[in-house]
Subunit: 104 residues, 2 copies
């Protein structure tokens, strides 16, 4: 019985590490989405000339920058969905494990 | 004698206002020189692609940005010389005026 408890406690530690890891991933993705959103705002407010290199900007090039950034944001949101789903799965596993530990 | 003192005190106030104004000008030019120096550092560290509009940068265009910024800094330094010279001139006038006021 003690061996079983130890085994379950070890499994619980593993899940806690996975949980901590996935939360780190979620935080990083959220930060990236914020940065891309700021970049998108900058691109939307670009004028006739690039403020950095001072060369004239065509409407076509501005649209390209905007649509590329929107795609990147959409990809990150997909990543976020998958990461959140993993987080939910780990939480569920932990709850079941807590249950098993109490039943010992 | 009182009339003369009033006249000199009024002249002194005028010079103090001019002094305050030229100091404002000097501060503004110094700020501008700092901004241009940062801009120069940015231009010197530009890579193969503009970090803002993502288009490839030729060595020629980079050199153009650098030399244009150096010219702007040199112009501002000339302005600064003239402003400092005005400041020195006003300080000298004020000292002479203080002398006249004491001699009354
Ligand atoms: Zn650019």
């Amino acid at each position: 019985k003690i061996a079983k408890l130890e085994e379950l406690e070890n499994k619980k530690k593993e899940l806690e590490e996975k949980r901590s890891e996935i939360r780190g991933v979620i935080a990083a993705i959220n930060t990236k989405i914020e940065e891309l959103s700021k970049e998108l705002e900058d691109y939307k407010s670009l004028g006739a000339v690039c403020p950095k290199c001072k060369r004239p900007l065509t409407e076509e090039h501005k649209k390209k920058l905007i649509s590329e950034t929107i795609s990147k944001i959409e990809n990150k949101k997909e990543e976020l969905k998958r990461a959140n789903a993993s987080d939910v799965k780990i939480k569920k596993e932990m709850r079941e494990l807590e249950g098993k530990i109490r039943e010992l």
